[in-house]
Each structure stands twice: as structure tokens, then as C-alpha cells.
């Protein structure tokens, strides 16, 4: 199958949507499909062969955060050329509501059946409400909508009044399942280890909650350790923390994917004390795949990933007391940890790329069947015909 995928965010900047598009594209290529990815990129060297740049990204404020996007006539021309050269059987757009390459591809597409994936849990925006009448005819070209989580789906219902089918994000489960524990990171009965992953200086990732919860943990296990991995400066948070907690915290900084997997495979529990703004929770899946027991805040996205708390421990979001108790209960019960480990590894398989990509492929097949099943439309002729019948943006 010839598949065209469009990612709205700069390809050379790490991010959830970019990784998702990359993994999905590479998975399909490995299965023998022809895939071409269009996204903004700063430089063209060193980019994979399946990649086409939609132009240099510009950092702009949109919907409350700074994103690196492309728009304007140059992007528009590149998108059109890419569509013409690709002759795709299906066009898969990611986050088409952002003012970037995916929206422009939607606008410019003509015959290709369009599938759209909505990743963000935040689709609400003033611009969207204001520009809706303008965008609506373009949005009607979408034949299949995918949401990555219950939350993303609920938001699409609320703000776009559209239905969608849930297909979660994928994880390369085998990569995490085969991770080897590292001795220095493994806990013992007397000195258990806990892990935190994510930006240290971003409050909504919740490192502050974890540090406060550590006080309770240290009361019962004075030699417990908290291993913190991820970019950002933790020193501000550590300055205000209890000195005992500071002594027991090890900041690892940015770690490689392999080290991340090893860390998750080593520790007694992985903590996900996020405060909000998470639409999925891919790290939780990675942690389960690596065999870590997960202790996570009860955000809707996390509750989903942990199957309502069956395959991990949920605590009240933002409550350090609740996190402390949850960790202590877990450390006191090795049998429960073993059960959760097994359940978690089983659960992670649902999110394996093999399973997820098969579902995406089923979506492609369904929209292609729908496009083929349509009665023939008269081809627009003459100026009036083109003006009237022409799909907005496309074909003229």
C-alpha cells in the first residue's frame, strides 16, 4: 500500500507525535508498504529516505504553548508537490487541527481517502472555534478519525462534535521486555529503589510530589533511593526538599533508550506522579513492558493504560501522602509486586506496535473500501463547474 503520512511538528525535535509517526512509518516499511512522511525539518541532511521536508519550522505560540510549525506559501507548494508525486492510496494526517503541514495537506488533498489521528487531549482553541466554518468543508474530507485515548476522544466529541475510534499509541514492547536489570539500580529488601522519568523542571511531571512522598518512604526504609532520569534542572526542587530526601535522590540526567529500559527493569517501583496534561502515558506502557510495578496518579489517561488500576497502583493525583502510602504498601508486599509485574507485562502487549499497526492498517482498508464504494461523481468542467464542485483548496 502507498501511504502518505504528515506530522505537523518539527521532525528533528524529540516529541511524542514525532516518535509515533516515525515508529509507525518504519513498522509499515518493514512490512513491505511504501511510506512517505512529510513534516517540518530544520535541515535535510541525515534524515531518513522516506522523509520529505515541508519547510523550516517557525516557533509560534498556538493554543497556549510554543510549537514549531510550518505554514505559508512555500509549505503550501511543497505539500501540493509531495501529494502529486506520491499518488498515495491513503493519506494519514496527525493532529490536522494545528496550523501546520497536516492541515495544509488536508486542504490540498483531492482524491486520496484521508485518515486523521488526534493525539492531544487539548483541542479546544479560540482560533478553532472562530475558523470552524472555514475549515468544516475541509474536515469533511476525513473519512476515518482515530483518537489515541478516551480523553482525546471525549475532547473531539466536545469541541469538534466528531466521533472517533480509539487506537492507542504503540510501544516496541520487545525492546523493553528484553531489557537487562543493572546491579547499581536494583533494590534490596532493606534498600529498595524507585524511579522517576521525565523533565525535572516541568511542574506537571510531578517530581515535587515524588520528593515529598519520599519522606514517608524514608521513615520506614531509611536507605531507599529515588533515581531520577530525564532532562531539565532538578536543583531548584532539591534545594527546597528535605535534606534526607536530597541524600537519597540520585539524579541521572538524560539517559539513553537502553538505559531507560534497564532502569525500569531494575527498580522496585516506577513512579508516575504527573499532575495533568497527559493524553496517553506511553512511559507507563514502557514501564510495564520492562517489568516495573507502576505507581501512577489517577489521571484518566493513566487509569486507561493501567486498565482501571488492575495492572498497576493508582493514587490521588497530586497527593504526596497518597503516593507515600501506595509505595509503602507495595514495598511491604513482594507477592503483590510479582503479580503486578506479570499482569503489567501482559497488559503492555496490547500496546505493541504489531497489534497497534494492524489496527491502523484496518482503518486504512476501511476508508479505502469506502472511497471505492462511492458512486461516481461528475468531474467538474469549465470555470463555473470548478468553482462550484472543486473541493476547497484541492485541484485548482
Amino acid at each position: 500500500m502507498r501511504i502518505g503520512m504528515v506530522c505537523p511538528y518539527a521532525w528533528d525535535v524529540p516529541g511524542g507525535v514525532q516518535f509515533h509517526v516515525r515508529d509507525l512509518a518504519e513498522h509499515f516499511i518493514a512490512r513491505g508498504h511504501e511510506v512517505s512522511v512529510l513534516a517540518p525539518a530544520d535541515q535535510e541532511e541525515g534524515l531518513p529516505a522516506y522523509f520529505t521536508s515541508s519547510g523550516r519550522p517557525v516557533a509560534v505560540r498556538y493554543n497556549g504553548s510554543v510549537a514549531r510549525l510550518t505554514f505559508g506559501p512555500v509549505t503550501s507548494a511543497r505539500v501540493t508537490r509531495w501529494l502529486e508525486a506520491g499518488r498515495f492510496e491513503v493519506l494519514h494526517l496527525h493532529e490536522p487541527m494545528n496550523p501546520s503541514a497536516a492541515l495544509m495537506a488536508l486542504w490540498a488533498s483531492t482524491d486520496e481517502p484521508v485518515v486523521a489521528t488526534f493525539h492531544s487531549s487539548v483541542v479546544k482553541s479560540r482560533a478553532l472555534q472562530a475558523a470552524h466554518p472555514l475549515l468544516r468543508p475541509s474536515l469533511e474530507k476525513i473519512r476515518g478519525r482515530i483518537a489515541v485515548s478516551q480523553e482525546a476522544r471525549a475532547n473531539m466529541r466536545r469541541y469538534l462534535r466528531a466521533e472517533s475510534f480509539i487506537i492507542p499509541n504503540g510501544v516496541r514492547v520487545d525492546r523493553f521486555r528484553d531489557a537487562r536489570p543493572r546491579e547499581g539500580w536494583c533494590g534490596t529488601a532493606e534498600a529498595p529503589t524507585l524511579a522517576f522519568l521525565g523533565r525535572c523542571d516541568e511542574p506537571r511531571k510531578g517530581l515535587g510530589v515524588a520528593l515529598r512522598a519520599m519522606r514517608d518512604v524514608l521513615d520506614e526504609h531509611p536507605t531507599a533511593r529515588l533515581l531520577v532520569a530525564g532532562p531539565g534542572d532538578a536543583s531548584v526542587l532539591l534545594r527546597d526538599a528535605d535534606p534526607r530526601v536530597v541524600r537519597s535522590t540520585e539524579v541521572l540526567g538524560v539517559v539513553t533508550e537502553e538505559d531507560k529500559a534497564s532502569l525500569l527493569a531494575s527498580v522496585d517501583a516506577y513512579l508516575a506522579p504527573h499532575l495533568g496534561g497527559e493524553s496517553f502515558g506511553i512511559v507507563l506502557v514502557e514501564a510495564m513492558a520492562a517489568g516495573a510495578t507502576v505507581v501512577a496518579s489517577d489521571l484518566p489517561a493513566f487509569t486507561d493504560v493501567l486498565d482501571g488500576g488492575r495492572t498497576g497502583v493508582l493514587f490521588e493525583t497530586g497527593s504526596a501522602d497518597a503516593l507515600g502510602h501506595a509505595v509503602l504498601d507495595l514495598l511491604a508486599d513482594p507477592e503483590r509486586r510479582r503479580t503486578l509485574r506479570a499482569l503489567g507485562q501482559d497488559r503492555a502487549r496490547v500496546f505493541d506496535w504489531g497489534v497497534v499497526a494492524d489496527r491502523v492498517l484496518a482503518v486504512y482498508e476501511t476508508v479505502i473500501a469506502g472511497a471505492d464504494g462511492e458512486p461516481d461523481q461528475p468531474t467538474p468542467t469549465g470555470l463555473w463547474g470548478r468553482l462550484v464542485r472543486g473541493v476547497p483548496g484541492g485541484g485548482s
Binding site: 466528531a162 466521533e163 476508508v367 462550484v388
Partner: protein
């Protein structure tokens, strides 16, 4: 003085008429496209329902199931297939925009599959390592998923048509012509758990 006024007024009226004509033709074409999309989505749903019933029937006839379960599935699958051949979508007077009351039959097949294929039974069938059985199980799962997708996408397309058709200009100028108002298709399509993952 009077001359100019008449000319201006005529020009203005002509421009307004052209704009109105464009807007109405454009809306009619858009509506046409949306109706075509519903029709396409319905034919995709129809094709997958036929595949699902065929795969279910094959599973029932494979001899791997106990006779009770086999009969239950075969009965529901046959009902679905008969319904399709009696009322093929291509001969539908409503241009494939209606499901023609097939909801009950398809819900019954879904329920039969769920009743006859609980987790342990599916696990047992997979262990047999019989190519025919595994293959028909996989096909029931694959077409079952596609039925769910097709129904979801169809209903979304129906919602779009209905929204445009509720617009005052569309109602007033009868832009929809005699096209039937498409209805969402509602039936139980929840797969047995063991086949859903």
C-alpha cells in the same frame, strides 16, 4: 442621475444573484459529496458484515466447536447472510443510505459470537493448532474489527450530512432534492474479548 442609480442597482442585484447562485450550487455539490461518502461508508460496512458472517459460518462448520455453540453461530450467521442476499444493497431504492432493518440480525450474530466464544474456549481452539480453525478465528476477529470501524466512520459521515442538511439555506432551497435523510446504524458490534485484542 436617475440613469446611474438604475445601473448601479442592476449591477448590485446581478452581483448578489451570482453570489447566491454560486453559494447554492456550491452547497448542493458539498451535500452531494457528503451523501456519496455515506454511501461509500455503507458499502464498506456491508462488505465487512458479509465477510464476518462467512467467517463465522466457516468456524461453526469446522467441527472444532461443540455442537451447541456451532449451531448457535451457524444460525445467526445464516440469518445475516440470507438478509444480505434477500436485500442486496445495490438494489436498494434508498441508494444505500439505509441499513434496511438489518440491525437486529447483526446484533444477534455479535451476541452469538460472544456467547459461544468466551476466553477459555478461544484459547482452547488456538491450542489445537488446526490451520482451518485458527484461520477462521482470525478472519472473524479481523472482519469484526473492520465492522466496528466501518460503522463508526459511517455514523460520523451521517452526522456530517445531517448537520449540513439542517442548515436553513439548505432547507429553504431544498438543496438535498429527493435524497433520503441518512440514518445512523446502531447495532451491537462488541467482539468477544479474546478476539478483540
Amino acid at each position: 442621475m436617475l440613469d446611474v442609480d438604475v445601473l448601479q442597482a442592476v449591477t448590485f442585484v446581478v452581483i448578489v444573484l451570482i453570489a447566491l447562485a454560486w453559494y447554492l450550487s456550491y452547497s448542493a455539490a458539498r451535500l452531494d459529496r457528503l451523501h456519496a461518502k455515506v454511501e461509500g461508508a455503507m458499502s464498506a460496512l456491508d462488505a465487512q458484515l458479509v465477510r464476518r458472517a462467512e467467517a463465522a459460518l466457516e468456524l461453526a462448520n469446522s467441527g472444532a466447536l461443540d455442537p451447541g455453540s456451532a449451531l448457535l453461530i451457524a444460525d445467526a450467521a445464516t440469518a445475516s447472510l440470507e438478509r444480505t442476499t434477500e436485500h442486496p444493497l445495490t438494489e436498494d431504492l434508498l441508494d444505500g443510505q439505509h441499513f434496511g432493518g438489518r440491525e437486529g440480525v447483526e446484533s444477534d450474530l455479535t451476541a452469538a459470537l460472544r456467547a459461544a466464544l468466551p476466553d477459555d474456549v478461544v484459547a482452547g481452539l488456538r491450542v489445537r493448532d488446526d490451520e482451518l480453525v485458527t484461520d477462521s478465528l482470525d478472519r472473524v476477529a479481523a472482519s469484526g474489527l473492520r465492522v466496528r470501524l466501518a460503522r463508526n466512520f459511517h455514523n460520523d459521515a451521517v452526522r456530517e450530512v445531517r448537520r449540513v442538511r439542517a442548515k436553513r439555506s439548505v432547507l429553504f432551497f431544498r438543496l438535498a432534492g429527493y435524497a433520503a435523510l441518512p440514518e445512523p446504524v446502531d447495532f451491537d458490534d462488541e467482539l468477544p474479548l479474546a478476539l478483540a485484542a
